[in-house]
Symmetry: none
Subunit: 235 residues, 2 copies
DNA sequence: CGTTGTGTTAACCACGTGTGAAACCTCCGG
DNA sequence: CCGGAGGTTTCACACGTGGTTAACACAACG
């Protein structure tokens, strides 16, 4: 389960797109035409929320869309409206049709915060900070890692090492760099320690995914599938 | 609509007062001093909502106040925060402590709309006044918890800790985080306190449900049975 | 004054972690 | 084609950090 889709109507551009990216959800644009058309369309399966841009559009159309989304789909899916300031009064007595709203000009961080707020309140856990690469998925909040859908039972150091490698894919790190970055700057230990932890990680990744951590002979290790050019990294 | 009192902290002036007047509710000022003082005061009887001005105030104090309002008083009473823009990031992972927020400079009609929105919503579909997870059920109104149908006789701190963990399932919390979120931001005590309370909770959960609180070694604790995958190695 | 709740201290124990040595691989020179 | 050297993988074991547990101290409350 990667990031859940969020329905965007009628389009997803500018601050809205940025806010969705920051939040870590994938936008799904329903249409680029009139709001009315969306209601007749089939919304994406299992979308976690909806952002409806009513600014500059006929207000009743937006409300109709809200009603249809609420009625047809799950009433728990949060709906966020983007409004012009003059549309604020129109919301009265329609409080049940939406969950939150933002008044233009739209601020990226405010919109992102509201998105995260509503998604979390709806019991959605997909907004958690994650690291995704290959078949590997690491949830930074639950300290859980899955490889090809299978849960990996990682120890603390294994998790930290894998997280560092996976957040900097395709880059080669020397053992000394890994020791200082993962174990700590003041750490002083043998370089063999890294080898052993890499070995344990490869074992837990499984036979077919062991190659996700690649050995660069006489240099160090890197994360990521092969045929990727490596950038040496020293700091 | 109603003229129920709305708690204002630390004061009610300028746009806030105007917004409350427009909405048609009567403001009740709790204090004009530091946010900390409010927690020890007795909130007005049957207040329908709270507006907390955190702009320009220490953020932890505002969060502490939210926490106390939520825990000690009715968890369904909507809380609206007034924030400076730079405080937006601090809201992350604290989504359960408030219901809405406004970023300064404060617009009267937007604030009024949000107030009306939350007050209406609180009447109809209240915020989850009940936490259900696994065989655990916690009634936030009556302060009662049952596990697998059996009533648990929890003390105050045990209840608060279990409630916090259960409302954020699967997420790992360090002992320091738990101390600040459950015991209070100003609390300063040994980290082993958490361990002992977890132990007492596990004892009261019973042998077969003790695993609902999981230890993440050298990180902290988390609530929730290990996900439907087979993480249970050997029984 | 007993009772109950809460936090601290220390002993115990388990498991994660680091280390050394040996086996293994890979690249080059002979 | 062979052999050795430098580098890597693998294994087993010992140490120490960190979690559990129980017992105690003390405050709150009746």
């Amino acid at each position: 389960m990667t990031s859940d889709p969020v329905l965007c109507v009628p389009s997803c551009e500018g601050p809205v797109r940025k806010a969705l990216e920051v939040t870590g959800v994938t936008p799904v644009v329903a249409t680029s035409g009139r709001l009315n058309e969306v209601a007749s369309l089939e919304p994406p399966d299992g979308y976690a929320g909806a952002v409806i841009n009513a600014a500059g559009f006929p207000f009743t159309e937006a409300m109709n869309l809200c009603r249809q989304l609420r009625h047809r789909d799950h009433p728990v899916v949060p709906i966020i409206l983007l409004l012009d300031h003059y549309q604020l009064d129109d919301l009265t007595f329609r409080e049940d049709l939406f969950d939150d709203f933002v008044v233009g000009p739209f601020d990226v961080s405010e919109l992102a915060t509201r998105l995260r707020h509503r998604l979390r309140r709806a019991g959605n856990e997909s907004v958690a900070a994650r690291v995704e690469h290959g078949g590997l998925s690491m949830n930074l909040e639950t300290y859980q890692a899955t490889i090809a859908g299978r849960v990996m039972d990682l120890t603390y150091m294994e998790y930290e090492l894998l997280r560092f490698l996976a957040t900097n894919p395709h880059r080669v790190f020397t053992r000394e760099t890994l020791l200082s970055r993962v174990w700590g700057y003041e750490y002083y230990g043998g370089a063999r320690t890294v080898d052993v932890h890499v070995r344990r990680l490869r074992a837990k990744l499984g036979e077919e995914n062991a190659h996700l951590i690649q050995t660069v002979r006489s240099v160090g290790y890197k994360f990521g599938a092969s045929t990727d050019y490596a950038l040496a990294d020293d700091d």
